[in-house]
């Protein structure tokens, strides 16, 4: 009976998940039956061999794929605004939406006025250069991204600003043909980039 209990408890003794009481019981049994220690050693050896089998992969395995999924399902600003107003339900929804729209427009105008005096954040000063060939990426940068950082990033990916920013902060970047997927990945990995998507072209001026 005691051997049966010992065998039952031993795996959990080895992986250190036994209660104090059971642990003490196993240790008493081992003291009284030294021959039982061979079984303990076997389990211990087995455990260490299994843990040596830990696959040698980086902690970031698959991370880029997940981040792509996450970027893909991020709601657009329009969706966020819609969700925000959705929270108010159907109570004077139209009036509230109208009021909110006016408030948002006021805020945008106010921000533009402030930005005009802020040399460090003159993202709008980026001049679009005409690039005839190559696929187009639509890129959104973090609100606090600096012009110098954006310029540097575009230079490193051999991208050219073809349009933007629009009212939603969309920049249109022309990139070398055949490299758009790799460049999109490179851009997504940069902390100043919030979203990247392939775009058919620069939309008409808003």
């Amino acid at each position: 009976m005691s051997t049966e209990r010992f065998n039952e408890l031993l795996p959990w003794y080895v992986n250190r998940t036994l209660s104090e009481e059971d642990r003490a019981w196993v240790e008493r049994h081992l003291a009284e039956h030294p021959e039982a220690r061979a079984e303990l050693d076997w389990y211990g050896s087995l455990q260490s061999k299994m843990q040596e089998n830990t696959p040698a992969v980086p902690a970031t395995i698959g991370l880029a794929k997940v981040m792509r999924l996450i970027q893909g399902d991020r709601p657009t600003i329009a969706e966020r605004i819609s969700a925000f107003f959705g929270d108010f339900g159907m109570r004077p929804a139209m009036a509230l939406a109208g009021f909110a729209l006016v408030a948002i427009q006021g805020g945008v105008i106010f921000n533009l006025m402030i930005d005009a005096q802020d040399v460090e954040s003159e993202i709008r000063a980026l001049k679009a250069t005409r690039v005839e060939e190559g696929p187009m990426l639509k890129v959104n940068f973090a609100p606090d991204a600096k012009e110098a950082d954006i310029r540097y990033l575009l230079m490193t990916v051999h991208g050219n600003l073809a349009g933007g920013p629009g009212q939603l902060g969309d920049y249109y970047i022309r990139v070398p043909a055949g490299k758009e997927a790799a460049i999109a990945e490179q851009l997504k990995a940069n902390p100043i980039v919030q979203a990247v998507a392939l775009a058919p072209g620069v939309p008409p001026r808003e």
Binding site: A38, I61, V66, L69
Partner: protein
Amino acid sequence: MDNDRVRELLARIGREDQAAFRELYKAFSRKVYAYALNMLNDHARAEEIVVDTMYQVWRYPARFRGDSQFSTWLIGIARNKALMAYRARRPDESHADLDDIAETEAADTPDGFATLAQKQRREGVQHCMGKLSDEHRECMHLVFFEGMSLAEVADVQRVPENTVKTRLFHARQKIKKCLELLLQREGGGSLSGATA
């Protein structure tokens, strides 16, 4: 990483904090990968399981209620994904030779244990683990790799604790017998290469 830190990160993930997600990801990805690899024996599929599992965490962070270890909860998600992947795999990929070692009684003499403990190599253990049934291999992995308690293993495998004990007992017998056969086959207890 303890559960408090995990909960803190999950709360931030609920606010779409990608930095928190990256931290959580890096803390647990290898654990999920090791589990999936043990189940599927396929590196590419194991990576897919990691991606699917962690993406689910990103989408539904509030589903972890904290009534178990986070890693146990995570392995539970990975298990469902692995089972789906397992069902989808080709029939010829299954472990058809499980019965090779299934019913043979392992030597239980103390000397036998000592010899095996001394000589079982990493490759030998890996080989013999691969000979186990999926349930037995999973059980061994959860106990000796993940370090889960009896209750946690039962929870992950969704079986009574007694079933876990039985699975563990049979897995032990099969592994022991398999290692003995390896020792015999490779030269009367002298396995080629380095010994443990």
